[in-house]
């Protein structure tokens, strides 16, 4: 697989797709370092901006974590806390608002679970730390 500058899909999306595949296939395991920006611009023959935007996409998907002066690594998948739901509740998944992201100290690319029960009772939970369990019959 390689990059096609003439494709209708942007280069930075293609790069994100390539790196995502290398992660999801297990070639790049959790904790492994991705190639540096300079390395990727050379390997794929593309510009910095495309590489940086690709990294930005992967961060927004919660797949990788970048540390300045160090590099970008595949994120370790977090442990999920089990949470039992009361009957009659409703649940939706969505991305957090700006306020919620700051309030809950959420990383980029982490959705939230919005749980409602009763009248106006709403709870917002970090999507990467929670697993919902429905009460068994």
């Amino acid at each position: 697989m390689t990059i096609d500058p003439r494709s209708h899909t942007p280069v930075y999306v293609q790069v994100a797709d390539l790196l995502r595949e290398r992660i999801e296939s297990g070639e790049l395991r959790p904790g492994a370092a991705l190639p540096s920006e300079a390395r990727l611009t050379q390997e794929y023959g593309i510009g910095r901006e495309a590489v940086r935007m690709a990294m930005s996409i992967l961060r927004s998907e919660g797949l990788v974590s970048t540390v300045r002066g160090h590099g970008t690594r595949v994120r370790e998948t977090p442990q999920r806390e089990r949470m039992e739901l009361p009957a009659g509740a409703t649940v939706i998944a969505r991305m957090p608002t700006g306020h919620e992201r700051r309030e809950l100290h959420l990383d980029e690319g982490v959705p939230v679970l919005e749980i409602r029960w009763g009248k106006g009772e709403v709870e917002v939970k970090p999507g990467d730390q929670v697993e919902l369990i429905l009460p068994a019959p």
Copy 2:
């Protein structure tokens, strides 16, 4: 509110915050076009890169959708289909894999709900189109 280049918070984050507020306040309604990149660089007196990174943030939050040659618009959030869950099921929210994103035609910044029931029975639903309902007692 305006941009402060000497602030500790990056310019592109400030721009994203400003635009997010204009969306969440309802000033920019679903379907409405955001100002073009050129317009924003002029209005705020900043570089295009800062504007584009701000747009990237909003896309990753599922707030806007960008089309090349056309512009960036506030995303229309589709009607959520209600879905009743059987007792004993478990649910997690996460970002989709690359394959799932293509398969389900998901925009950037849209999570999925991964629903398991019984042994190995897994269903992945678009997070922006589903509302889960737990059976009432």
